[in-house]
Amino acid sequence: MDILSYVKKGFVFFDGGMGTQLQARGMKAGECPEMWNITNPQAITEIHRAYFKAGASIATTNTFGANPLKIDNTEAVVASAVENAKRAKFAENQFVALDIGPTGKLLKPLGDLDFEDAYNAFSVTVKAGANAGCDLIIIETMNDPYEMKAAVLAAKENSSLPIFATFVLDEKGKTVTGCDIPAMVAMLEGLGVDALGVNCSLGAEELEKFVPELVKCSSIPVIVNPNAGMPCVHNGKTCYDSTPEKFASACVEIAKMGARLLGGCCGTTPEHIEKLTRALSGCKPLPVTQKNDTVVSSYSHACSFGDKVVLIGERINPTGKSKLKAALRENNLDYLVSEAIGQEEKGADMLDVNVGLPEINEGEMLVSVIKEIQAVSALPLQIDTSDPIALEGAMRIYNGKPLVNSVNGKQKSMDSVLPLVKKYGGVVIALTLDESGIPSSAEGRVEIAKRIIERAKEYGIDKKDIIVDPLCLTVSSDKNAPLVTLKSIELLKSMGVKTSLGISNVSFGLPSRDYVNSVFFAHALSKGLDAVIMNPYSFEMMKVYYAHNALMGIDDMCGDYINFASNSQSVTIAAEVGEITLERAILKGLKKDAKEITANLLKENAPLDIVNNHIIPALDTVGDNYEKGKTFLPQLLMSAETATVAFEVVKEKIKGEGETNKGEIILATVKGDIHDIGKNIVKVILQNYGFRVHDLGKDVPPKNVLDYAREHSIKLIGLSALMTTTVPSMEETIKLVKAELPDTKFMVGGAVLNKEYAEMIGADNYSKDAMESVRYAQQFFKT
C-alpha cells in the first residue's frame, strides 16, 4: 500500500526525535548529525528500527540539515540516509520520508538568500532522496512561508512523491516570521501538498490549543509532531521535560480534535512513540472534511471572501496614470511601493498589481514589483496580467496564495491560465466574456461562468477558488448595462459562486464619476457582491463601504464606521493653515503647510522663482545649521522631505519643463550588506539638492554597479558599507569599476569607515555624513 492510501485508512504515526538519540549513542556537541549517515550507518538504522518497533509507520531520514548550503556532498549523505532508513523496515506499511529542514538562512529581501537559490538547494536534496527510493517527502520545522514555498516547489518539480509539510508555531500560534495558521494552510493547500501541520518548538500540551484552527482550515490530513515538552540541559545534553505518558495523553487529545498523523519531534524517544501508538490503537480518526472557503493569503495572514466585501486597491495600474507610467519607465519602484502602503493605510484588504506597459519587460517588472511590495505590505496581492509568462513568474515568487486577475471564457485564456492556478495555487477571477464578446444578458454571462468553472474542474481547480466578475459596461452608452450586471451577481450568488466587480467602468464618460460609482457599489453590495476592485482614496466609495457594513450588522458597535467618520473630520480641520512662510515650513518640517503655501504662492509667482527664492534658500539654511551642529539629522531629513513636497507642487505646474538636474549619481549598499539606512538618508538629501539619484539598492554585486555605470554613463558613484566584513566588497567594487571606467569617482560612507580607510580602498572621497556627500557632489559637478 502507498502512504496516501494508508493515511486514508486511519491514524498514521511518525517517528520521534533523532538528535537526542544520536547524542545517546555518543554524538558530540558541534558534530554534524548528517555525517553519521556515512560514518555510523548502523547506529542510524538502529534508531529507525527502534521507532518502527515502537509502532511508527514513517521513518524520517537523518537529513534535516542535508542541503548544499549547510554541508558538502549532500547527494552522498542523502543516499546513505535513505538507505539506512530502508534497511530498518521489517514489516508492511513502513515508509521512509525524506526529511527536509530549513536552510538556516533568511530569504531576500530581508535576508540574503535568493528564492531561487533556496529552491536549488532543496532540489539537490529532493533529487538525491527520490533517486535513493524514499516513499515520501516531509518538509518540516519551517518558520518562513516563503522558504516553505521554495521547498515545496523543489519537491514538486523534482519528484512525483507525496509531499507532507509542517511548520513551527510560537506560543501565540504564529510562526516567528509572523505567519498565522490560515495563511500557511491556504498556501500549502494551494501548492497541492498531501498533508500539512505543525512540529517542534512546543510540547504536545502547548500545541493542543492550536489544533482546532488547523483542522478547521484544512481540507487535507493534519500532522502534529510536538516536542517532548520544553528543553533544559543536563550535564551538557539537552533534555525535555515531558514524560512519555504525559506526551501520549496530550497527543490523544490532539487526535480527538482531528489530527490524523502524529509523532514526535525534539526530545521524543521510542518510548514516547510507543506510548502514543498504544494509546490510540483501535481508535479511528475524525474524517477529513472538505472546506469551502475562498481564501487567499500573504506572508502573514489570510483574506477570506464571503463575510465582508473585500476591497481590492486598484491604484497600482498604469492605465490612465501618467505618474505611475513614468515610475515604471524609470524603474522607480519606490513610487509603486508607496502606492501600496498608501492604499493599505486607507483600508484596502488586498492590492491589485498591474505593470503592463508596452515599452517595458512586463514579466521582469512584475516579479520585481511583487518582491518589493510583499517585503513591506502585509496585504495579499492580486496579480493582474494578461501575459501567461509574466503570470507564472509572479505566482512563483509570490509569498502566499495569490488572487489571479484573470481568466475568461476564451479557450486560449483557460488553457494558459488554469494550469498555472492549479500548479502554484491561487484563487482566480473569471471574466464573463469569450470569443464572441460580452453577452448582453445576465443569463449569457452566467453561462460563460459555468463553462469556466467546468473547465477549471477538469484541471482539478475547485469552484471555491473561482471568483466570477460579471463585468460592468458603461451606463452612458447603455442605460440597462448596470441592471444586467446586478442581475448577474444575483444569479451567480444563487449558484453559490463568489463574485467580484471592477466598479469604475460604469461611470465612464460621465462627470463626477465617484457619485455614480458609489451608488452602483451600494446596489452591488445589496446583491451580495464579495469583492470590489476600487480606489481606496475615493471618499464616496469608502463612505458606502463603512455605512453598508454598519447597516448590515457586520461592523460591531459600528466601531469601524465611527473611526472612519471621525478621521475624515480631523483631516478637514488639519487642513486649515496658519500664518507661516514656506521657508519656515521647510525649516520646521511641516509638510502639509508647505504643500498649501506652495500652491498659494504659485497663484502669483513664477514656479522657478519659488524654487530659487524660497525653497533653495530654506534648504541652504537647514544645511548650514546642520553643518554647524545647530540642527540634527532628523530635522535635516524632515526639512528635506518637506522641500520635496514643495518641489512636487511646483513640478505639477511646470510639467517637467525647467526641471533641475545637477548631475547623475549612482548609490548602492555593497554586496553582502543588507543595512541600507545610511544610503537611504544620503539619497533623500542629494535629491533635495537637485541631483538625480539612481538607487541600486542593497547587497549589490560589484558587476551590477559597473554595468549600470557603463550603460547610463554615470561618473559619480556613492557606496555604503556598515560592517568590517563588507568593506572588502566596497574595495572590490571600486577596483572593478575603476579598471573598466577609470574616470569614475567614488564617494563612500558607513559606520566602520574613516578617511584613511577610504583612501586605502581607493575611494576618492570619504563622506562622514549626508551633507558631506552633497558638498562633494557639488564640487564634482561644479554646481
Binding site: V233, F632, L633, E641, I674, H675
Partner: protein, 197 residues
C-alpha cells in the same frame, strides 16, 4: 545543572525606549521641541511592532592563555579573557525584536527617511533595554560580569555562527546569519555574561 531557556516578553510595557540613547544614535544633542512628535512616533512604533524574545544557555568555561573555551566554541580574545576573569561559567544569549521591526523599517524608508531613521534608533535603544532585562533576569542572585558581545573588540564576529548554532536561534527566534555575518532580524544582539565563581 545547566539550563537552556527562552524568554518572551508578552508585556512589552515593561520595556522602555531610552529617549536620550535614541537621540544619541541619531546624533541629536538637544530637542528644541521640533523633534518631540517624531521621537514619540518612533517610540510608539518600536514598541508596537516588536516582539522581544531571547534564548540563552549556561555553559562551563575554561580560560587558557588568550583563549576561552565554551565547550561549543573556542574564542581567542584578550579582551574577553579579561572580561571573564574569575568566572568558570557563563551565559550565552541571543535577544531580538523580531522580523516585524525590519519590515516596518523597510516600509517607513519608502515613506519618510526621517521617520525611518528615528524608528531605527528607537529600536536600537529598545533592544538594549530588552538585553538589560534579559541580563537582569539571568544575573539575579548571582555575581555577574558586564555582558560582552560578539564582534566587539577582538571577539571575532565569525563566532556569531557558533553562538546562533548552539542556541538554535534560527529555529527558536528566526534569527539567521548572512554570508557576511550580519544577523537578521537587524535588531538582534548576542552576548556572553560571565558568572563569578
Amino acid at each position: 545543572m545547566i539550563d537552556i531557556g527562552t524568554m518572551a516578553l508578552s508585556d512589552i510595557t515593561r520595556l522602555k525606549v531610552n529617549r536620550g540613547e535614541a537621540m544619541r544614535y541619531l546624533g541629536v544633542k538637544e530637542d528644541d521641541c521640533s523633534l518631540t512628535e517624531l521621537l514619540d512616533q518612533g517610540e510608539t512604533d518600536a514598541l508596537s511592532v516588536s516582539s522581544p524574545r531571547a534564548v540563552y544557555v549556561k555553559v562551563p568555561i575554561a580560560v587558557e592563555g588568550k583563549t576561552v573555551d565554551f565547550g561549543f566554541m573556542k574564542v581567542e580574545s584578550e579582551r574577553l579573557v579579561k572580561n571573564l576573569e574569575g568566572c568558570n561559567e557563563a551565559y550565552v544569549f541571543c535577544a531580538t525584536l523580531g522580523i516585524s521591526a525590519d519590515r516596518h523599517y523597510e516600509k517607513l524608508a519608502r515613506i519618510s527617511q526621517a521617520r525611518a531613521a528615528v524608528f531605527s534608533a528607537s529600536c536600537s535603544s529598545l533592544i538594549e533595554s530588552f538585553c538589560d532585562y534579559v541580563n537582569g533576569e539571568l544575573a539575579r542572585d548571582k555575581r555577574c560580569k558586564p555582558r560582552f558581545s560578539c564582534g566587539y573588540g577582538d571577539f571575532c564576529i565569525k563566532h556569531q555562527a557558533d553562538i546562533l548554532n548552539v542556541l538554535e536561534a534560527s529555529k527558536r527566534l528566526g534569527v539567521c546569519l548572512t554570508d557576511s555575518y550580519m544577523m537578521v532580524p537587524v535588531k538582534t544582539v548576542t552576548a556572553v555574561i560571565g558568572i563569578r565563581r
